[in-house]
Symmetry: C2
Subunit: 324 residues, 2 copies
Amino acid sequence: MPGLRIFCDAPLSDSALQVLKQGTTSHELIFPRRGTESVLAPTEPDPALDTADVAFGQPDVSGVLESKRLRWIQLTSAGFSRYDTPEFRSFAKLRGLIVTNSSAVYAEACAEHVFAFMLAQARKLPEGISSRCANGSPQWVALREGSVVLKNQSAVILGFGAIASRLLELLSPFDMKVIAMRRNPRGDEGVPTVTPENLRGALGTADHVINILPDNAASAQFISAERLDWMKRGAVFYNIGRGTTVDQEALSASLRSGHLGAAWLDVTDPEPLPDAHPLWTAPNCYITPHTAGGHRSEPETLVRHFLENFSRFLADMPLRDRII
Amino acid sequence: MPGLRIFCDAPLSDSALQVLKQGTTSHELIFPRRGTESVLAPTEPDPALDTADVAFGQPDVSGVLESKRLRWIQLTSAGFSRYDTPEFRSFAKLRGLIVTNSSAVYAEACAEHVFAFMLAQARKLPEGISSRCANGSPQWVALREGSVVLKNQSAVILGFGAIASRLLELLSPFDMKVIAMRRNPRGDEGVPTVTPENLRGALGTADHVINILPDNAASAQFISAERLDWMKRGAVFYNIGRGTTVDQEALSASLRSGHLGAAWLDVTDPEPLPDAHPLWTAPNCYITPHTAGGHRSEPETLVRHFLENFSRFLADMPLRDRII
C-alpha cells in the first residue's frame, strides 16, 4: 500500500510520539494546529483532517463528515458517544469508513480501578486512614465490625465488554457469585448473564452493583430511582461507565436514606459535579475525577494499540476494538 | 473424654456466644470477671483460669504459668509475642501445654486489606477522592499519569505464612513477579523464596515491599534505614505485620527524602502513634488503625475455628494453627 497520510490529534508524550514515528516511517504523520489536552475534550474541525487517509485521536465530527479520503479512525478513548449518531453511522456506512476505539488500552486500568473501589470499601479505607483510634475503642470496634471480606460475596456487573471480562479474572480468587447484564447475551460471558428486562432479581441479592454501561440512548439514567430501590439494603454501587447512565438525584437520595450502603463513582454528569451537588455531601459517596483508565504508560500503550491495528489495516485484516 | 472446663475471655457477640455454647454442651464454659475489649489489650490474672482445662481468648501469661490443669490454649489473635518467651515455652514443654492461634481467621481479611492498600496506591485513590479537578486540567493529567496498573509489576513479601499464601492467590491474575522472604524456605511457597541474608537483590527491584513479619527478637526493626535504602526509588512499602519490625524514624525520613514512593501501614509502634509522630505528616504515608484482620463475621469465625480445633482436641488429633 502506498504511503498514507495519518492525522494524529492524540495528546502524546515525547516517547510515545517517537514510537508512533518509528512505526509509521513509510507514511506521513500530520498534526492539528494544536494538540488536545484531553481525549474527552471537545475539538474543532482541522483542515489537515481533510487530506488524511487515517485519523488517530478524537477528530472533530463535522470535520470527519466533510472529509473526502478518510477510511479509518482510531479513537484514543473507549467511549464514543460523539460519533454514535444515526448521521455519523450512515456516513460511515456509505463511505466504508471504519471506526475503532481504544477499549483494550483502558480495560486493565479500569478493571483495577473498580476493583480498588471494591476493596477500599470492603476494608473501609477512607474511614480507617482518617482515624487515629486506639485498639479496643468503640470506633475501632466499629471499624473492624464494619469491614468485610469480598470472599464469597455477590456482585452484578452491568455492561459486558473488555472491562467486565478482565474484572471477572481479577475476582476469580474470591469465589464470588457474579451475575452479568448484557443487552444481547452471547453465552461466552463465563457467568450467568441476564438481559436488562430480567435484572430485578439479580439486583435484589447483590452485595456489589458495578456499572460499566457506556453512554447511549438505551443507557440514559438506567440506574433510576426504581432500580436503586431494587438493590439490596446496604448494597454498594460503583460507576466506571458514564455519569449519564445514573439518576444522580435518586442516587443521592438512596445514600441519604441509608438504603444504599455506599457509592464509588469515577464518572459523573457533568464532570466535575458543581460544588453544590448533593452527591459531594451524601454519606459514603466517594468520587474520583474520571481517572479510572489512566496509567503511567498510557500514551505508549495507545500508540502501540494503534500501530497493531495499523499493520492489520495495511494487511486488510479485521481490526481490533472495531465499533463502527 | 469427660466434661472439660473451658475458660473463655474472648470478647464475643451474643450470636457468637450462642454458637460457642451450642458447640460445647457437654462441657462447662467459665468466664472471667469481665471480658476484654480487644484481643490485643493487656489482661490480668483471673482465678477462674486456675480451674480450666482449656482456654480460649488471651489468658494472662502469669495466670497460665500458675495454672495446674491447663492443657490447651487457643489464642484469639494471630500474633502471640506475649507468650513467645523462653520461660513460657519451657513451661509449656514441661507441662505438655499446647498453644494454637487464630491465624486462619484473620488470613483472608489481612490478605484483602494489604491488597486493598496496593490497589488504592496504584489507582491513587486518596488523591483522587479528595480532588474535584476537571478533565484535562494539570492535576487530572498528573493523577492519571501517576496511576499505575499492578499487572506485570514486582513485589517482595517478607514473612511467609497463611496471609502470604492467600495474598499470592489474590495476586495471581496480575502476572506479577513475586519473591518471598522466609527464615527457613521449605520449597512449597510457590514463588522464588530467599532468606533474610539474601534479600538485598530482591528489595532493589521490587515495586512493592509487603511486610507481614510477626513481632519477635529476629524481626525487631528489621526494616532498618539500610534496608529502606536498598529498596528501589519510588517503591511502595506496606506493613500488616507488627509495628516493632520497622525503624519508623528511618521510614519517615525515606518518605520525606522522596526515596520511598509511599507507605501503607496497618500497624505501628505504639498504636496509635502519638499525634506529634513524624509518620502522620510524612508524604504519601497512609495508616489504618490495626483493622486489617477485622471483618463483620469475626467473632463467629473465631468461635467456629475454636470449635473445629476443640473437636480435634477431643479426638486427640493434631490441631490447626499450632504455634507452641
